[in-house]
């Protein structure tokens, strides 16, 4: 029970999380990583990985492969730097992108709860404030918060080869952009405008996995959203300037993946995901965003798949790579390439419980804006299975 309390507390912590990218300026924010450190280590490819240890919510059908109750809690520490004509800036940030709990409820049926960060609008940029050719202060623009999703779902093993799952739940978030002008010249008053946005709505996901044989599997998942309501309020230090209500259509997303399990010592995965950002509409008005297609691939391997032996040889090691273009309207050919690497520490008596760590290195660039961005994210996940909840049981008993 204590573990449940911990998970709930960490869920609350996520509301204060921060990621940071200059690309969030002028957009609804960075699509947050929705995977755990294990999948991140494999380049973020996990749509079809139904091996009983995949607990990241990318594909709700994967839950049906779990044999025991478990949870996954992931945290990330990010290092982000961007370079513009004005100079280079470095930000360090922390985030809790997701928490997931899955409970086998009946034979071939698993129910799950997840909290996931969907969009992260954290950023901070500053620049000299000039008026009449003279510097009279500093201008800062800062984004805080994002959009989050609470999901309740279920997955069922339909047959020996087919798994299916779905989830649905509540989306919420109150991202805020703060514009501050700080003056050094006499007579000026510092001003701060706050553009607070509040989202509410429901959404969900569907997924299937086809286990063609004991090695090869295919998976597909789609995320869907009902129209969200959005309240916007712009205020300064004195008064509320603008209040308005809007309807927001979030972009549909879907993907297909394949996974191959070579045996107890190795597996590989490949995902292709599509997000229809062009369907992102506010009050029925498209925002000019580009649809994105991501390609992610990765592999995991162990030197010693047994339960005994030197722990370093028993650890799973992972690597991966991905291509993920940015969807924003102003950044033209802004694309990202990333490589990942990771490892896990398996508990000797319960190898489904583990610590995972992953490192992600991403470079983004745009010839059009001369902006270069570099990200290094370090993920850690704690994955606990049934014995962590009190029931001591060895596999095979």
């Amino acid at each position: 029970m204590k573990s449940y309390v911990l998970v709930v507390l960490m869920t609350g912590l996520a509301a204060t999380a921060a990621a940071n990218t200059i690309l969030s300026v002028g957009t609804p924010g960075e699509p947050a990583a929705a995977v755990d450190a294990r999948a991140l280590g494999m380049g973020g490819a996990a749509l079809a990985l139904a091996d009983g240890s995949n607990l990241n919510g990318l594909n709700p059908a994967v839950w049906a492969s779990l044999k025991r109750a478990g949870f996954n809690l992931t945290a990330v520490r990010g290092y982000n730097s961007y370079e513009t004509a004005q100079g280079k800036s470095v930000n360090v940030n922390y985030d809790v992108p997701g928490v997931e709990i899955a409970l086998p409820a009946a034979e071939n049926l698993t129910v799950a709860f997840s909290f996931r960060e969907k969009l992260n609008q954290n950023y901070e940029v500053t620049a000299p404030l000039e008026f009449g050719g003279e510097r009279i202060g500093t201008s800062e623009r800062r984004g805080v918060g994002g959009l989050y999703a609470l999901r309740l779902g279920a997955a069922r093993r339909l047959s020996a080869r087919w798994l299916a799952g779905l989830n649905a739940g509540y989306d919420f978030g109150a991202p805020e952009e703060v514009y501050t002008k700080t003056f050094t010249e006499k007579g000026y008053s510092d001003v701060q405008e706050r553009l607070a946005t509040s989202y509410r709505g429901v959404g969900g996901a569907l997924g299937i996995v086809w286990l063609t044989d004991d090695h090869l599997s295919f998976g597909a998942a789609a995320e869907l959203y009902a129209r969200h309501s959005c309240r916007e309020e712009t205020s300064n230090d004195y008064v509320t300037l603008i209040e308005s209500d809007h309807q927001v259509d979030l972009p549909y997303a879907g993907g297909v993946g394949a996974a191959y399990i070579f045996g107890p010592r190795a597996r590989a995965a490949l995902d292709v995901r599509y997000t229809a950002w062009s369907g992102f509409r506010v009050d029925g008005v498209g925002q000019g965003f580009r649809d994105t297609v991501e390609v992610r691939a990765g592999a995991e391997g162990r030197i010693n798949a047994g339960r005994k032996g030197f722990f370093l040889w028993r650890m799973p090691y992972r690597c991966g790579a991905f291509y993920a273009p940015w969807y924003g309207r102003d950044y033209g050919t802004y694309t990202a390439f990333g490589v990942t690497a990771g490892a896990g520490y398996l508990f000797q008596n319960n190898e489904d419980s583990r610590f995972d760590a992953a490192f992600e290195y991403v470079r983004r660039g745009s010839a059009a804006t001369a902006v270069r961005e570099e990200q290094m994210n370090f993920y850690i996940s704690v994955v606990g299975v049934e014995t962590w909840f009190g029931k001591q049981q060895e596999e095979g008993e």
Binding site: P28, A85, N91, E124, G187, T234, L241, G288
Partner: protein
Amino acid sequence: MTSFRYYRWLVLGALAAAWLSCASPTPEPVGFDPYDRPIHTAVLKPSTVGWRDTYYDTFSPTGRHYRLACGAWGGYRSRTLLRYDVADIPKEIRVSKITAISLQISYVRLSGSVNDQIYAYTPVKLTLHPLSRGFDEDRATWWLARASRAWTEEGGDFGPAVGSLELGSPSYQREFYYVDITPTALDWMANPARNYGILLKADDEEIAPGIKEFYATNAGRGGFAPLLDISYIDDDGEKQTRYVAPQKDCFITDYDEKFAGGAVHGYDEYLDFGCFNGYGRRTIVYFDLNPAVSGVPADASVVRARLRMYYLPAGRDERVYVAVYRLLSSFAEGATEDTLEQQKYHDNLAYVALEFKKTPPGYVDFYINPLVQEWVAGKHANYGLMIKAPDESEAQVFPRFAAQHNADEGRRPYLEVDYTLPAEPWYAAGTP
């Protein structure tokens, strides 16, 4: 967990250290186009924004001031009002044992405080008169004894002189002067209902020799205020003296050139402001901030709003301290003095204060950013603003601003507003 040996902790520790030690953020991130809201400037000149400006005079109570003034100088006449409560006389002093009751005047010159003005240097003969009408020290002016009760005679209702004293040039050493008012004080003790107080004035206010100042009880310098000095014989036959502080003390001032009630204001070339011992002049200004007229959008964030007034020093170029207040009722150019004296303003909130001291002629800036922001955003109705001394009991001077009707266009007032427009949400640039 027994198999969780030390070297595994080392691995976990290394992972944690790596996680925490990536890098430190730069203290001031830089970016491109972070605000994207340029500063706009709107210049509101009298000819374009329904500008109105004028000034009027007023008499202000002085009961909260630290100082009392008495005398006549340069067309001003000041009188001090005092009242002692006989109930404050110790009960053990029997009337039959009182030998004398005097008014003790503490007379001193202190830099920047009392008797340090040019009008205090010449000798003045003061006379003491019993008042025949009560007064409220927080309301009394040359016209009024109380809030809604005028003096029968302007400047106070009083009887014949009961004493006098002559004060010479003030010294930095404190001097005491005593005026025997025994019969008057004994009458107060015998008939407390007749105790309205006492008035000090220059013996001849027409020749205007000068004005003398004393500390009031509000100065917090107990021994310096005019005291009632009671000499008596105690039960042991010893001579004793007791002092009683004023229950009420204030001063009232008249000015020979004050405006008549029917005087019309609003088409002058100059706007007077300042104060002198309870007589004040106030400048009031209005400009239309309606977006259609001013060009400042209602949703603008004002970063600077400066009211530029062309300052003209008074002949006696001494310190003037003024502040800006928000008007609570409208005014019109061409209104009479009687009408303008009813002008309401928010006296608890001064938006900006300026001190003029040997300030050369030229434009001075009143930065009224919050006030203009509130008007632009519609938080308060815009009736205009008032420029006046925060405490009109002070002895200052009356400099001027050039009015909108000034013949020299280069001296006319105007308002300059720098503002930004509200940040647009990220989705504002969407395309259908």
